[in-house]
């Protein structure tokens, strides 16, 4: 009996290899594998999505600062003494703008500092000023308030991208300066500054002396209408602290500042590891607190051509170049691609030639794009002697590259038109050509257009073949025609990505954003076309 009981489970069914404990464990394991497998699949999709989010968020966060540019309003002296209305082209407008800037800081006297100060405004200032005066001669004759673009370092600092600056904090003790300018001594009423300096990377020396080198954060003390940068601190008798400092902006007087009257500003990023000095930061903050700096929509970026100066570089030249190139590509690839598709799908007999064409098209679709560039270089440039860097050649190369995409999409679309349409047309006496062009083609057109737009979107983002035919040249002018030297948006991105200036990183991201916007628009049009016009039979 015991045997019989043991061979029956709790529910009274016989235990077999499918229901014993080992089987249950097996089943559990199988279900676990199932769950694992499912989650692995979900994780793969999630990882792909994560990559996309990471990519796009990196680009967008970097691009946003480039959409605005900081301008400094200066009183520019355009009186007849400075600008001779008869000789507008010979005036050194840059110098006039720089004078206006240096006049704002009368106590900046050393040559080096003056150069630093002049460097705050863009080197393109003179060009803008000249252009605006030419457009509005009414500016001449007196002093006008004119907004000039800031240099890229100044601009990046104001956008908070170059240095980590804390907000001003009131110092809760008295501060007494020894002089108003030069290297001075500051006496602090208590020793709170010592702990603060230690916390910001000051170097310990003998007798408790702390030195703030360029590897430490910068501690700036603002009071009496000036700013002092601390270089060293040492504890003195009766609990006070004597600090050595360099005056960046002259103080009004040597009167001691009472508790709460002096302010401490900490620039966390050490001076050695940023590209902007303490002086420039103080000047910019002064200008900013005077309300002279204003952030505007960056029209320079959107409406000018390339430049070696980050703050003057724009994408308009590349956008026009891309546009011209795309026109050529479309003009060549669309008619040829659709014609080839019509022939192969509607007319071609099954023979060696058509098989060869089909094999060729499929192979071309998988040839690396750079090989098309080599073709363009060897055939179009060297054999036919066409101009380098021209949109017409770029367009031709991209057209050859896009052709297989358009042919394959068009054939699929033509194939989707049911035979009954053709038979009906033939039945009422239309010729083969009339059948195709009056009936089949119009019905297949939405699909063909969709395929073409997707092919063009692909071509718009293509870079490698165009490097081969010289579209990588540095071109400042906006191209005016199909044979002018030009560059295109992806190549511009490639070139800017290579430039070492920090400002170009944002510009590159912004250019990428523009490219992606164009691609999104094209894809959206393709989707709309597909949704609205594509018929299902």
């Amino acid at each position: 009996m015991t045997d019989a009981i043991s061979s029956f489970g709790a529910v009274g069914r016989p235990v077999s290899i499918h229901t014993d404990d080992a089987a249950k464990a097996r089943l559990k394991g199988r279900y676990r594998t199932e769950t694992w497998f499912k989650w692995l699949g979900a994780a793969a999709v999630a990882v792909a999505g994560l990559f996309l989010v990471l990519l796009l968020s990196t680009i967008v966060t970097q691009a946003i600062p480039a959409l605005r540019q900081n301008y400094l309003t200066l009183p520019i002296d355009l009186s007849a003494a400075k600008v001779d209305p008869a000789k507008l082209d010979e005036v050194n407008y840059d110098a006039i703008a720089q004078e206006a800037l240096t006049a704002k800081f009368p106590d900046v006297t050393s040559r080096q500092d003056k150069r630093l100060l002049r460097g705050l405004i863009s080197t393109g200032t003179g060009v803008f000023l000249r252009k605006d005066i030419a457009a509005d001669p009414g500016m001449l004759g007196g002093t006008v308030d004119y907004a000039v673009p800031l240099d890229d370092f100044a601009d990046l600092y104001l956008k908070g991208l170059l240095a980590d600056v804390g907000s001003d904090e009131a110092i809760s003790t008295s501060v007494t300066p020894s002089q108003t300018s030069g290297d001075i001594d500051l006496t602090f009423g208590d020793d709170a500054m010592l702990a603060l300096a230690r916390g910001h990377g000051a170097t310990e020396g003998e007798n408790g002396r702390l030195t703030l080198t360029s590897g430490a954060s910068s501690l700036l003390v603002a009071f009496n209408g000036g700013t002092v940068k601390l270089t060293a601190l040492s504890p003195a008798a009766n609990g006070t602290v004597i600090a050595k400092g360099t005056v960046i902006e002259a103080l009004d007087s040597t009167a001691p500042a009472a508790s709460g009257q002096a302010f401490l500003r900490v620039i966390e990023t050490p001076e050695a590891s940023r590209k902007i000095s303490d002086k420039v930061i103080v000047w910019l903050d002064t200008l900013k607190s005077a309300g002279l700096i204003e952030s505007r929509f960056n029209s320079i970026f959107f409406f000018t051509g390339a430049s070696r100066e980050p703050e003057l570089a724009g994408v308009w030249g590349a956008v026009v170049g891309s546009f011209l190139t795309m026109i050529v590509t479309l003009a060549i690839a669309f008619p040829i691609g659709v014609s080839a598709a019509i022939y192969l799908e509607e007319f071609a007999p099954k023979n060696r030639l058509t098989t060869m064409i089909e094999v060729n098209i499929n192979n071309l679709a998988a040839v690396p794009s750079i090989v098309f560039g080599l073709l363009g270089l060897a055939v179009f440039l060297n054999f036919f002697g066409m101009p380098r860097s021209a949109p017409v050649v770029g367009g031709m190369v991209l057209a050859l590259m896009t052709l297989p995409i358009i042919i394959i999409a068009s054939r699929a679309s033509l194939r989707a038109v049911p035979p009954s349409i053709r038979e009906a047309a033939l039945g009422i006496g239309a010729s083969k050509v009339q059948t195709v062009f009056h009936h089949v083609l119009p019905l297949a057109m939405p699909g063909i257009m969709t395929g073409t737009i997707l092919g063009m979107a692909h071509a718009l983002g293509e870079t490698a073949p165009l490097l081969m035919i010289g579209m990588v040249a540095f071109i400042v002018d906006i191209p005016g025609g199909f044979t002018d030297p030009a560059t295109i948006l992806p190549v511009q991105i490639f070139m800017w990505a290579d430039f070492p200036e920090a400002g170009f990183q944002q510009k590159t991201s912004a250019a990428i954003l523009i490219l992606l916007v164009f691609l999104v628009i094209m894809n959206a049009i393709a989707v709309i076309l597909r949704r609205r016009f594509e018929r299902r039979w």
Partner: protein, 462 residues
């Protein structure tokens, strides 16, 4: 000026269409039923003959003249240009052209001005010739076709035959492109192999073409044959491709499996566009991402682990390339997995297999040829990819299997050799074409093998 000619011809064509139509109708006194072809077909016939030959002549002219004009200039100024290398001559002719047509020139000198003047006159002559030729062709074509129009004339047949010829010509462009690629690569490569023996190119392990010559420019000395060994480039390409496939193959395949067999409709509605967007992002964007975000990130991780990661490591380029290829792998695998008939899945489920068992033991084996083919195509894609490696991989040709070091690839070297000033007869630039030929052969072989795998091992259901 030739632009006006094209516009003029198009206007003429429109006029000819209208004239042909009117004449056809007039020839039967308005009783259109008596015409063999429709009036519109007569119009088309006249328009084609009035504008077609002339437009064809213009196409040929615009392809041929730039070369002829440059060679005339080079020929006429051969004494002034005799001491210069090829790039200087090219620059001279480019400047002359720019001066002649009002472009910007670096600096001008009397020789260039003379060349520009000559260029202008030569161009004026050739423009005049094409105008004459085009108008004569147009007029004679129109006259000939006009005299044909009659009620019994089979205009439709002529028009349709021309149209069909045009369609065939368009299809042949694909063949011409392939022929052009193959010929240009082979010719330039042969010139390269005259200077560097091909076995040294294929099997050499040292690559540094920047030091190819002892001298510079026209005085360059003999080519050093031993610095054109492409093995390090090939190894670097394979290393990066391998890393890319390590990322793309599992993620792409699992994503395809999940989307085809597990995902609910709403998940698919989100995930598919995500993959499509990933596929639509230009490679230059991936390159920027690799160089500016991923490479420093890997470097940072390496530093914190005490590893020395190159700032242009193969790892960063490979991983980003893998991300780029994920949608490619997943969409190809998706097609293949969906092509496995539902009856196989149902049968497996009927035997009590779980979904994952069905996929691993039934669906994947059935889809294996297609998946292998998809992976081969992905490898081909990775080998030919250019921008990511140009921006994120190194330039130095290290022969190493360490993914943390910088390696260079075939495509990077093609770009490096051909961007910037070129001399067209130097081994350096010709080497790029030899590399291009190797690249073309490898990708072509992979594509053909991928195709054969599917054809040969595909299970035939239905």
């Amino acid at each position: 000026m030739v632009g006006y000619l094209v516009v003029l011809l198009l206007v003429l064509a429109a006029a000819a269409y209208w004239i042909g139509r009117t004449r056809a109708i007039a020839s039967v006194n308005g009783d259109v039923a008596r015409l063999h072809s429709l009036p519109g077909q007569h119009g088309m016939f006249l328009a084609l003959f009035a504008a077609g030959p002339a437009l064809l002549a213009i196409v040929v002219w615009s392809l041929v003249t730039p070369g002829i004009e440059s060679s005339i200039i080079a020929d006429r100024f051969s004494s002034e240009l005799s001491g210069m290398g090829v790039p200087q001559v090219e620059a001279f002719i480019r400047d002359a052209r720019a001066m002649a047509f009002g472009g910007l020139v670096g600096f001008a000198d009397p020789t260039k001005e003379a060349a520009a003047a000559l260029y202008k006159s030569v161009h004026a002559t050739s423009t005049w010739i094409i105008w004459t030729v085009a108008l004569v062709l147009s007029a004679s074509g129109f006259y000939w076709a006009y005299s044909r129009i009659a009620p019994a004339y089979r205009a439709r047949h002529v028009v349709e035959r021309i149209l069909r010829a045009f369609l065939i010509a368009c299809s042949v462009v694909a063949i011409l492109t392939t022929v052009g690629i193959v010929l240009s690569l082979i010719f330039e490569s042969l010139r390269f192999f005259q200077q560097v023996p091909f076995y040294k190119f294929l099997f050499g392990t040292h690559w540094s073409p920047q030091s190819a010559f002892t001298g510079a420019g026209a005085e360059a000395g003999a080519v050093n044959e031993d610095i054109f060994g492409m093995v390090p480039l090939f190894a670097g390409t394979l290393l990066i491709t391998f890393i890319a496939m390590l990322v793309a193959a599992p993620i792409g395949l699992m994503a395809a499996i999940y989307l085809s067999d597990y995902a609910s409709k709403s998940v698919r509605a989100v995930a598919k566009p995500v993959l499509e967007i990933l596929a639509g992002i230009p490679t230059v964007v991936y390159g920027f991402f690799a160089a500016l975000t991923v490479a420093p990130y890997f470097r940072g991780i390496g530093e914190s682990l005490g590893l020395n990661v190159a700032s242009e490591s193969a790892l960063a380029a490979g991983v980003v390339m893998g991300i780029m290829i994920i949608p490619f792998v997943s969409s190809l695998s998706d097609d293949v997995i969906n092509a496995v008939p539902q009856s196989l899945r149902d049968g497996s489920a009927g035997l009590g297999a779980t979904k994952s068992e069905t996929i691993r033991k039934v669906v994947l084996p059935a889809a294996l040829p297609g998946i292998v083919s998809a992976m081969l195509l992905a490898v081909s894609r990775a080998i030919g990819e250019t921008m990511i490696v140009v921006m994120a991989a190194g330039l130095a040709a290290n022969l190493t299997a360490n993914p943390l070091e910088a390696v260079t690839t075939v495509t990077v070297q093609i770009v490096t050799l051909l961007v910037g000033d070129q001399e067209f007869d130097s081994a350096k630039t010709l080497a790029a074409f030899a590399l291009g030929l190797v690249l073309f052969c490898i990708t072509l072989t992979l594509n053909i093998v991928a195709l054969r795998v599917v054809q040969k091992y595909r299970e035939q259901y239905d």
